[in-house]
């Protein structure tokens, strides 16, 4: 299944949920936020939220800043 993470095309197994995606991407769960097709997905539902072909995933992370 193909979808987009921060504008890049990524291929992942079907039926993947958000937490699995982050693990695949070796991205930390802590300090991260995820939006799917512009909707922010609450952390509490990351294991339930199934991703679909073509989803636009935006992945954010806390960084140093003023």
């Amino acid at each position: 299944m193909k979808l987009f993470v921060n504008e890049r095309v990524i291929t992942i197994p079907a039926d993947c949920n958000i937490e699995q995606l982050l693990t695949l991407l070796e991205s930390p769960l802590k300090g991260s936020a995820v939006a799917v097709n512009q909707h922010i997905i609450s952390r509490s539902t990351w294991t339930e939220y199934k991703l679909n072909e073509g989803d636009q995933i935006a992945l954010f992370q806390a960084i140093a800043g003023g």
Partner: protein
């Protein structure tokens, strides 16, 4: 002893949190993470700002979160980069998910040169976010009427600027900060422009409830020593306010 008594009693309450230190800090512009952590420890700050950005899949950033939390600091994510209320609200909601905190430093600056805040969009976003359960600390121009609007909108504090961000120019807005402090029923945190400990002390002497400092610590030749200097200056200014400065 009087001094210690004063210090242990004199706490700042914002929303659900109580602060002993009145020096809030930012995490930007430090040369490296180790220096940043050492400086923040020296500052004794209990609230530090952070930003949020889209992960660059090629060049991942250091994990900044773990050492901050380990050192007992509260996190204050900001919405920097947002150019209007809509973007700021989205950023605030993302930050809430990422950092699991409903505290937000609301920053909206459409102009990339001076990074001055937008009063209209900031109020609009503040109204929405306060209703949405956020503890909103808006970064604003030192505009007393705007600060009263933000108070009415349910903000937990206001963060008027002393001078443009990163300018180190000090309290160029002092005449208006005085009015804001006089009129506010919520804490006033002077943000932006504080370039030296004397600036921080002056803000506290005026009666500000706290200050936020970042650039001046991060770009000092010795950030750790400078951060300790700021910690002392903020205490000095606060004590002077409590001890009753004589008039000129």
């Amino acid at each position: 002893m009087l001094v210690n008594k004063m210090q242990s009693d004199d706490q700042l309450v914002i929303a659900d949190k109580t602060f002993t230190s009145r020096l809030f800090t930012g995490t930007g512009k430090f040369n490296d993470q180790q220096t940043m952590i050492a400086a923040l420890r020296a500052s004794q700050s209990e609230l530090v700002t952070m930003a949020l950005k889209r992960i660059d899949m090629e060049h991942k950033d250091d994990d900044i979160l773990a050492p901050l939390i380990k050192n007992g600091m509260n996190l204050l994510p900001n919405t920097s980069g947002a150019r209007n209320a809509k973007e700021a609200i989205f950023a605030a909601q993302l930050a809430r998910e990422a950092l699991q905190t409903n505290w937000i430093k609301l920053e909206i600056h459409p102009d990339p040169k001076y990074l001055l805040p937008d009063p209209i969009e900031t109020l609009k976003a503040a109204e929405f976010l306060a209703r949405d359960g956020f503890v909103v600390l808006p970064y604003v121009h030192a505009d007393p009427v705007l600060c009263k609007h933000l108070e009415a909108a349910g903000c937990a504090a206001v963060m008027p600027l002393g001078a443009p961000i990163g300018s180190n120019k000090g309290l160029k807005t002092i005449d208006f900060l005085e009015i804001i402090i006089e009129q506010a029923n919520i804490p006033v945190i002077v943000d932006a422009g504080i370039g030296s400990p004397s600036h921080a002390a002056l803000a506290m002497e005026l009666g500000a409830d706290a200050v936020l400092v970042n650039t001046a610590m991060a770009v000092a030749r010795d950030p750790v020593l400078m951060s300790d200097a700021f910690a002392k200056a903020v205490q000095a200014g606060r004590q002077a306010y409590l001890a009753g400065l004589a008039g000129q």
